[in-house]
């Protein structure tokens, strides 16, 4: 371990944690205040919760690798950061739920308390990760490093990871609610088609704005390729994320294929906005 005077000052560490806590709460407060999420804490199976924790951990690692504060971080640093972010997520989630009187240690079973804390902690930890990275921009130094970062971060993998996180944050806030069921049940196939087309149009519009900045450097054929690629990737990621969060919140139990499809498309509008525009906010 590093000797005391070699290590990062405690003040810097506290600042970083402060940013993480602020970001964590900023992105997760809507979910911390949503009844359907608390209910899912005691209705979700242990397997669903385990899968959620593993998916979130994978996302944290991916976000820290492709979009985090330090582009030159090693894998072992990235894993340490991800574990820390998840630990802060658990702590914050527990503290806020206890403050809101959503968990009572004497009256509730361990499973109920843990279920609620785990679900909310996943949203908090992604927020912590984004908060730490986004609010610490001034710490990046050196022109050479910036160029390297930009080069590395324009890669499609980087864009895909940001789109995943963006769609999860935007779509995840609405997925637990009953409104998705209401919209899907009352929608005609034509309505669902319109929602899908609008989602694709929004993804294409954002992709156009992003790619038109690079137009000077790229050839026209490249521009069309990037536009189509980004649009397809944003919308595909949005649909996959929508399906996962809807499944997690129990939206697929006992319903037909059409309703599942309609729910995914209905939530896909929000998730696609998160995947395209949302990723610009968290990059």
């Amino acid at each position: 371990m590093a000797s005391e005077h070699d290590a990062k000052p405690i003040k810097d560490t506290l600042q970083e944690y402060g940013k993480g806590v602020a970001g964590g709460l900023l992105f997760s407060f809507p979910l911390l205040y949503t009844m359907e999420v608390w209910w899912r804490g005691f209705t979700a199976s242990p397997f669903a919760l385990l899968l959620l924790v593993l998916v979130t951990f994978f996302l944290l690692i991916a976000y820290n690798r492709y979009a985090g504060l330090r582009a030159d971080a090693s894998w072992h640093e990235i894993i340490i950061d991800s574990v820390e972010e998840m630990g802060i997520g658990f702590t914050l989630s527990f503290a806020v739920l206890a403050m809101l009187n959503r968990i009572q240690l004497t009256e509730m079973s361990v499973e109920e308390v843990l279920g609620k804390v785990v679900i909310e902690a996943m949203a908090v930890s992604i927020g912590v990760s984004i908060g730490t990275a986004q609010m610490g921009i001034e710490e990046r130094s050196g022109k050479h490093e910036d160029e390297e970062v930009n080069e590395k971060r324009s890669a499609k993998a980087h864009v895909a990871v940001l789109a995943l996180c963006g769609s999860l944050i935007v779509g995840g806030n609405v997925a637990p609610t009953e409104e998705i069921t209401t919209i899907a049940v009352e929608a005609s196939p034509a309505d669902i088609l319109v929602i899908a087309l609008v989602s694709i149009f929004i993804s294409a519009m954002v992709a156009y704005f992003i790619n038109s900045r690079r137009e000077e450097r790229a050839k026209r054929s490249d521009f069309v390729f990037h536009l189509v690629f980004d649009t397809c990737m944003s919308y595909s990621i949005a649909l996959v994320v929508s399906a996962f969060v809807l499944w997690f919140f129990g939206h697929f139990g006992g319903v037909g294929t059409w309703l599942i499809f309609a729910k995914v498309i209905a939530l896909g509008l929000l998730s696609s906005l998160g995947a395209s525009a949302g990723r610009l906010l968290i990059k």
Partner: protein, 138 residues
């Protein structure tokens, strides 16, 4: 850690201090604990239906002299949604009066406390019985 430092010689900012190592240590315990517990629960998970247990006793107050305290517990393996409990005052097999308790959710192993009121004095009945009317899987 030391071999990593020698290879990369990270700047002062990248070396972790005691606070970061403490937070990391606690976080590892939490993450491993939660994943371990969930994995254990997944392995031993059995989908048994909700099983509602009801306990009740008279609990009169000055304002509600005919009040009963009702504790509803779910001893099953799944959460019960929309639980409806009925408490009846019987006299010679005839229902004098009935009152209901409704719970939106009753998680597994949870106990919810509630109270029901009667117009009739329970002392006039020869027995007080309960019936779990219905509940569903969420």
């Amino acid at each position: 850690m030391s071999s990593e430092n020698q290879q990369k010689e990270p700047s002062r900012k990248d070396k972790k201090n005691w606070l970061e190592w403490t937070v990391f240590g606690i976080s590892v315990l939490m993450v491993v604990g939660v994943i371990g517990y969930l994995a254990y629960m997944t392995y031993h998970h059995q989908e048994s239906p909700p099983d509602i247990k009801v306990q009740y006793r008279p609990d009169p107050t000055e304002n509600s002299p005919n009040r009963y305290y009702v504790a509803v517990q779910n001893a099953g393996g799944l959460t019960a949604e929309g639980v409806m409990i009925e408490l009846m005052l019987l006299d010679n097999g005839r229902t004098l009066e009935s009152s209901q308790v409704q719970l939106p959710f009753l998680p597994k192993s949870a106990t919810h406390e509630s109270w029901v009121n009667f117009r009739t004095d329970p002392a006039l009945a020869d027995s007080v019985v309960y019936k779990v009317m219905s509940y569903k899987k969420p």
